[in-house]
């Protein structure tokens, strides 16, 4: 990291503006999108280990019939927290890590539109996650399932579901704010010449995801608020005795929940769309179609929510409508897969670890996608729903899909972010153990579901013959754990090597590889001018008249590429680059949120304190200039 310390002006009131770019506090007060991305990544990975440990306990309990490794009460907390953790505290923030780090670099910008707001989002996420987990020590963790169906979630006498409702509102605020920030960044901060259709697919998927977040999170916020009010203040939103309808919760939840699954998968699809061309040495096949498919998936994703509710008795007309819309959404998904295959076709494929994970993504996602299509066969979904067949489906798309894709991204961008490679041999071991473990764990679950094993059950009777595949699944889960350990070893070991990395070690195609590894705080010495999609590639290679691809001679055409002397300040100050300064206020403002939440549970005076903290944070923030 840069060791620059700018001699500062003192603030005459309150607290002195943080200055340093090294050390612990520099991380707490950072507004640099790259550091915030790293913070998201580390935090998400820590939650990944926690959520994975919860899964291991679940699998131990289910390894054989009629066991009591954990009690039913604890089991319900474990599967609830496993789901909440993996969805809200792992995949979403891990995707956010990549969006935060890469989007400005990929569009040739120096940071996101609102750097302090960016920091605020991270801290709100962290505090929200810690808040939810604190429930284990404060009266019980959430135990009503990650989906929290009413009335059960309302009536549960422990505190867990109250922590659930408030905690997810906090993380929802973090994500909504971040979504607006990143959307403005993509829409408004592209380098000169970078039209929307010259943006990398990863940035496109990022834009779609931010819009999905901005429009779906408010709906669940309302649902969670109603759940909280029912629990804490005994209102009647989901109270059958007063005429309330528990199905309202399901509608609100899934109106968010379905776009949410596209929020979970599109980032990984974006990553794969970047990795495949680099390691096949060909451009992405059908770029516009991949982009349009992503947009289509985003739109249609708002129209399929009740396919999670086929068994609730909405009636044959509604079930038909949602069954058909669900089948429709399979089409753009398929288009993406075919275009990825087209990228491989006649390529020059090198099996570096990022490529292995990207290929693994395609292989596993196809399985998950196909089982998803079988769910759309509505009458059979009455058999499949709420069984391990569904558990198999969503783990194939969320783990085999999203996690594998994110790992591809980790291996691919590690040299850019940390200036070192992850070891290839260990990476291959990581990949194969994860692939085998994953399939051993979730493959058999298709069978278990069809053989009659419902979801969310503490145990099952010996007479049902489910023991064998459950044992296999448990073994597979431990293999997954081993593979994650292998990755951690790889990650730690990488820091033993010196940080001597070229700007473009993979011979890649997008702008982040134009600058150093790692990039300086200001990303680019000179903002590049963009002339085409895959701008970096076209600066390196040209096509001869015979159709051969040849390197552009160094010192030749490359120097003709303009860069813009950074005049973004409008000051005409030559090459002076104004980066936003670090700040305490985002942390302060974010800290108010869990204080309010604890107050709502335990003591209304705390709510007042929390509001004060939020206000102090925000006023300090708006009165402070963004850069000094």
């Amino acid at each position: 990291m840069a060791t620059v310390s700018v001699p500062g002006e003192r603030r005459s009131w309150l607290v002195r503006r943080p200055r340093s770019t090294t050390g612990f506090w520099s991380w707490v007060t950072t507004v640099d999108h790259k550091r915030i991305g790293i913070l998201y990544g580390i935090t998400a990975f820590a939650f990944f280990v926690v959520g994975g440990s919860e899964a291991l306990l679940l699998r131990l309990q289910l390894a054989q019939p009629e066991q009591e490794v954990v009690s039913a009460a604890v089991y319900n907390e474990l599967f609830t927290m496993h789901g909440v953790t993996m969805v809200f505290l792992v995949v979403m923030p891990l995707s956010a890590a990549f969006f935060n780090y890469l989007i400005p670099l990929m569009i040739g910008a120096r940071d996101v539109a609102f750097p302090r707001l960016n920091a605020y989002s991270y801290w709100a996420f962290l505090f929200g996650g810690v808040f939810i987990y604190s429930s284990f020590f404060l009266g019980g963790a959430p135990n009503g399932g990650w989906f929290g169906y009413a009335p059960n979630s309302v009536l549960d006498p422990t505190r867990g579901m109250t922590f659930y409702s408030l905690g997810l509102i906090i993380t929802g605020i973090a994500s909504t704010v971040s979504a607006i920030n990143l959307a403005v960044t993509v829409i408004n901060m592209r380098a000169p010449g970078m039209t929307l259709f010259r943006m990398p697919v990863f940035v496109w998927m990022g834009l779609v995801v931010q819009l999905l977040l901005a429009f779906s999170l408010p709906i669940i916020t309302v649902g969670l608020t109603e759940l909280f009010f029912d629990r804490r203040f005994h209102t009647h939103f989901f109270d059958p005795a007063a005429g309330g309808d528990p199905l309202l919760w399901q509608h609100l939840f899934w109106l968010f929940g379905h776009p949410e699954v596209y929020i979970l998968i599109l980032p990984a699809m974006g990553i794969v769309s970047e990795v495949l061309p680099v390691f096949a040495r060909k451009p992405l096949f059908g770029y516009q179609f991949v982009v349009f498919s992503g947009i289509a998936i985003g739109f249609i994703g708002f129209g399929v929510w009740a396919h999670h509710m086929f068994a609730t008795g909405l009636g044959p007309v509604a079930n038909t409508a949602f069954g058909i819309s669900t089948m429709i959404i399979a089409v753009p998904t398929g288009v993406k897969i075919f275009n990825w295959l087209g990228t491989l076709w006649r390529g020059d494929i090198r099996f570096a670890t990022p490529m292995l994970f990207a290929l693994g993504f395609i292989a596993m996602f196809v399985i998950g996608g196909l089982s998803g299509v079988t769910h759309a066969v509505v009458p059979h979904d009455y058999q499949q729903t709420d069984t391990y067949y569904i558990v198999a489906h969503f783990h194939y798309v969320l783990f085999g899909g999203a996690i594998f894709g994110l790992f591809a991204g980790i291996y691919y961008w590690w040299p850019k972010v940390f200036g070192r490679f992850l070891n290839e041999r260990i990476g291959r071991i990581n990949f194969w153990i994860m692939l085998i473990g994953f399939n051993l764990t979730f493959g058999p679950m298709h069978i278990l579901g069809l053989q009659g094993m419902p979801r969310r059950i503490h145990s099952y009777p010996a007479s049902l013959g489910l023991g064998f595949w459950n044992l296999v699944a448990t073994a597979g889960a431990f293999l997954i754990a081993l593979s994650v350990l292998v990755f951690l070893v790889n990650a730690v070991a990488s820091f033993r090597r010196p940080a001597e990395m070229a700007a473009d070690p993979w011979d890649a195609r997008t702008l982040e590889w134009l600058t150093t590894s790692p990039p300086p705080e200001h990303n680019f010495d000179e903002i590049p001018v963009v002339h085409s999609l895959d701008e970096l590639w076209h600066r390196k290679y040209a096509e001869t008249r015979g159709g051969r691809v040849v390197p552009v001679p160094a010192g030749g055409a490359g120097d003709e590429h303009e860069a813009v002397a950074d005049d973004s300040a409008g000051h005409g100050a030559g090459h002076a680059i104004h980066m936003p300064s670090p700040s305490y206020w985002p942390v302060v403002a974010a800290l108010g949120l869990p204080i309010i939440a604890y107050g709502l549970i335990f003591n209304m005076w705390l709510v007042g304190l929390g509001v004060v903290v939020v206000l102090v944070g925000f006023y300090g923030w708006i009165l402070e200039p963004s850069a000094e």
Binding site: A72, P240, F338, D348, V366, P379, D381, L450
Partner: protein
């Protein structure tokens, strides 16, 4: 930095994975004695769903083979070979191909959609007046079956005749924030009373006979099915409903029509008075705990020695003809003396969250109760 992979290892390991998946699929076909399997339909409802699923499954397998095959083939065929360092032609796409692989999947899906929609409507059809009407009430954590026309009320076991549609009307019951009554379609001649437990969403599922239907406190839901052959078909609650969600099981017992009528007649027999050693158990039954077991349970037509009827309640499972049943406590325990003893000794320890409290019965009282229950044929 060497970005080269080991290609022969990729081949061998990729093949290994493929074989594992294939073996798994094959093993799936040889399922052991699964008695709750959607793959072994034994009634029209489940059969329709299954016959819709199987062709779609094989189409999916075909697509799997083609797509994964293409993936593997391309990965192997177009792998980097040492010494060949030319960059491949930078093909950007092919619009005709895009159109083709947009339209083809759409056509396949349309083909799947047509029978799907037809079956959705078929399964939703009303069975008509010849159906056997049963009201199903979901409690925490057991199922109650009420036959309004036959005047029979049984927990845990849904007895039906073969070859005749059974029309279920289903509600969740229990105490929410306040006392409530179930929706009117689930009410019998007498109002369905306040029952113990929380009224949450459950889901009624016996996969060999029918796909699931969620059960709500706010509306009645219906489901129609028929059993082809006599037999015992297992089922359980499928929608997470709290601590003992996993322990809310039931069985569907299909009889030939004649045997079903006999079963109905047996169920309609009142218990009458209790003689002999079991009378001691009757006394425990009426006096245990604060207000006797009859505070929550009932036995139809049970009488004191003087002929006075003993009232009960339908809050908890109806214990009429208890000895004729094979399971109890949400059908998670076989009806044996040993299991009964452990249950009566401490119900919440046997079933998490059980609404039946531990009355600290003495071992003697338990023995007597068991003797009494064993006379309830």
């Amino acid at each position: 930095m060497n970005a080269r992979g080991s290609t022969t290892k990729v081949n061998r390991k990729a093949l290994a994975v493929v074989w594992m998946i294939a073996a798994g699929v094959l093993l799936a076909a040889c399922a052991p004695n699964a008695t709750q399997s959607a793959l072994e339909p034994a009634g029209e409802n489940a059969e329709k769903a299954n016959s819709l699923f199987l062709p779609v499954f094989w189409v999916a397998v075909a697509i799997f083979v083609i797509v994964e095959g293409a993936l593997l083939f391309f990965a192997i065929r177009y792998r980097h070979r040492k010494g060949r360092d030319t960059i491949p032609p930078q093909v950007h796409g092919n619009t005709r191909l895009e159109i083709a692989w947009t339209i083809l999947p759409a056509v396949i899906l349309a083909g799947v959609a047509v029978p799907t929609v037809a079956t959705i409507f078929e399964l939703a059809r009303d069975p008509g007046p010849e159906a056997l009407e049963v009201t199903v009430l979901g409690h925490q954590w057991w199922w109650e079956f009420d036959y309004p026309e036959e005047g029979v009320n049984v927990p845990n076991e849904l007895h039906v005749p073969t070859g005749r549609p059974v029309h279920l009307t289903m509600c969740s019951v229990g105490v929410g924030y306040e006392n409530q009554l179930a929706p009117s379609e689930c009410q019998g001649d007498e109002p369905v009373p306040i029952t113990l437990g929380n009224s949450v969403i459950h889901s009624f599922w016996a996969p060999e006979l029918f796909g699931t239907q969620d059960v709500f406190p706010t509306y009645a839901r219906t489901l129609t099915f028929a059993a082809d052959e006599p037999g015992v078909y297992e089922g359980q609650c499928k929608e997470f409903c709290g601590l003992s969600h996993a322990y809310m099981r039931f069985v569907v017992v299909a009889h030939s029509p004649a045997e079903f009528d006999q079963w109905v007649a047996d169920q309609q027999r009142p218990a009458g008075s209790i003689e002999g050693a079991a009378a001691e158990g009757l006394r425990v039954f009426v006096e245990a705990g604060p207000a006797g077991c009859t505070q929550c349970h009932s036995v139809n037509g049970l009488e004191h020695a003087n002929g006075e009827e003993i009232p009960g309640s339908l809050d908890a499972p109806n214990l009429s003809h208890f000895a004729s049943r094979d399971c109890f406590a949400g059908c998670i325990f076989e009806n044996t003396d040993e299991n009964l003893r452990r249950w009566l000794d401490d119900p919440p320890a046997m079933k998490p969250g059980s609404w039946m409290p531990d009355y600290n019965l003495t071992s003697e009282e338990i023995d007597r109760l068991i003797a009494f229950l064993n006379t309830l044929e």
